[in-house]
Point group: C2
Chain length 342, copies 2
């Protein structure tokens, strides 16, 4: 059973994941692993993954056989486990709980070599629809506080298999980064009765110099305080707090915007490694110790996607301080991406 451990000084949860544990001696060889010879995510290899949870597939084809377009399976080496109770406990000065959660893999397409930027819009619409469907299914489990949808593209960005896939992890605590954003948004709303994200979108559209691409429905912005060169923040222009409540039309529009952005990154930067991740509404669980805590969530929170190209390395400075050195002005990055001929 994986374990969540809390550090009382750095106020941080860490997952000690014994399921994917490596023996100390496994770390000795640090050369990159060989490229996939055999790919368990390719069509025809359905029996090499755990049994599928969900799929979009051709009529008449059976689960765990060929014929799928998007396929969801449990992660074979899950960071968190679906079975069990939290068993929260103190360990002297520390705190721990069982690593309860879910860890799924969304295989985005049967074609092994296809990059999300190159695929037909139709595929992206299906993939984003699956994100939504898995989110609203997982959020029913009241043991989970947050559902994180994230994609690692390229080995430098942490992808261990090159076949295009996205991961979903349901966590038993609200992750710190999300908690900080929730608190900031709440404080802003309490003072001003306005959504901080709506305020930022308005300010950015007026300024214009950090806009990467924009249409009537979504906007991709180079954040004012970008941590990484070419970082992007993709957000619905209208106030929406929960990605899981997106309509079919909104999902389609999101796919249009994400494809536009990913094509710009690919054409201008040569298929860079990247991560993207959703910051959506946390699971709305009544909190006896914080009455009213969730009541204004639909007013003060605004879901968004962070897209993080991984073009620079993080070093001691970033690890030691929690702040970042970015060698590229966000205004320059936005201009460069804006001017790509798509």
């Amino acid at each position: 059973m994986p374990e969540l451990r809390h550090d009382p000084i750095q106020k941080r949860w860490v997952i000690i994941s014994t399921e994917r544990s490596r023996r100390p001696s496994d770390f000795k060889v640090t050369s990159p692993p060989p490229d996939d010879k055999f790919c368990p995510f390719c069509e025809g290899n359905e029996d090499k993954t755990p049994l599928e949870i969900y799929s979009i597939r051709r009529d008449g084809t059976l689960p765990n056989t060929p014929g799928w377009e998007v396929r969801v399976v449990p992660n074979k080496f899950p960071a968190l486990m679906i079975e069990g109770e939290h068993d929260r406990a103190g360990v002297g000065l520390y705190d721990r709980m069982n690593g309860i959660g879910a860890h799924e893999v969304i295989i985005e397409i049967p074609d092994h070599g296809s990059s999300m930027a190159d695929r037909p819009l139709e595929n992206l619409v299906k993939v984003f629809t699956v994100y939504k469907n898995r989110l609203i299914d997982l959020i029913k489990d009241r043991r989970f506080k947050y559902i994180l949808i994230f994609k690692n593209h390229g080995r430098v960005a942490g992808a261990s298999l090159s076949h295009p896939h996205t991961q979903i992890i349901a966590t038993p605590v609200t992750p710190r980064t999300v908690a900080v954003e929730l608190e900031s948004a709440r404080a802003h709303y309490q003072l001003k009765e306005r959504c901080i994200f709506c305020d930022i979108i308005k300010q950015e559209i007026e300024a214009g110099d950090r806009i990467i691409c924009i249409d009537e429905n979504y906007v991709a912005i180079a954040p004012y305080a970008s941590r990484h060169p070419f970082e992007a923040f993709v957000v619905p222009r209208a106030h929406r707090h929960d990605f899981g409540e997106s309509t079919e039309e909104e999902i389609y529009q999101l796919a249009v915007m994400m494809k536009d952005l990913l094509v710009r990154l690919k054409l201008s930067l040569g298929d860079p490694p990247y991560n993207f991740l959703f910051h959506t509404a946390p699971n709305v669980i009544p909190q006896p110790r914080r009455p009213g805590y969730w009541e204004t969530l639909s007013l003060d929170w605004h879901w968004h996607i962070e897209v993080l190209p991984r073009l620079t390395r993080t070093a001691g400075f970033e690890w030691g301080t929690g702040f970042y050195i970015n060698p590229t002005r966000p205004e320059d990055a936005a201009k460069f991406l804006r001017e790509v001929e798509v």
Copy 2:
């Protein structure tokens, strides 16, 4: 002039470092840079660095000529600049200030190929003495809130030059990671009138299973909630809040402990890439809005070093949540390192 920008949602400062800026097109080639052909840090190349700030050198040799043992120079591509004022300002919803600070490089030894683990203790004592001397010099500048000493060993850990060196950055804000630790330590002290680090050291020595190496003066612990496999926390066993107040004897004892730890990492893991960084007392600046804020610093804070081997990659999960998946139990890592025959 570099710029510090603040994100009001994530509550994070970022340095936009125009001095080390790269044009967007420079990112296109993502192959690793060629290995150093010419090394500006080697003896004989003193004229290829900015003028030296400090050195330990043989009697009778002149600054910026051969004959040095440890040499400190300004970083040629500084993330922060020494000249100027903060010029704090709001930019709509955001905040900015000039990137005032210092960025120095400590060249640890003339020998290009020497790893810290392999060097005579005498060299480490000199290097750590230089850390202390630079710290107590930089902290005199009241524009600086924090002095960060950190080392990147190996390209994966962010070292752009392979010649052994350490960096010092003086920052105009207290970095978030350090601020969180300061607050936790303060809250613990206010409640209990005990140092949280002293409490943890006591608990860890009693438990024993996360101790990597220990002597009368220092202890290296695998933190209970380690983010990375083989992470270590090196700390003086006696209560000391400021590395800059270390005596000659304490510096010698620290060099003994750090050499012991680095040799264990090297022998067992094959010279892994790593970062280490000091968390010492911040610059004690009277804070008109927080009277009494610093008064108990010498009681509630305890300086320490984080040693972070970089054996796993951070991916979307870590970036999106601020928590970490560690595939190795800290107890297993500690046992493995403890049992290395040094």
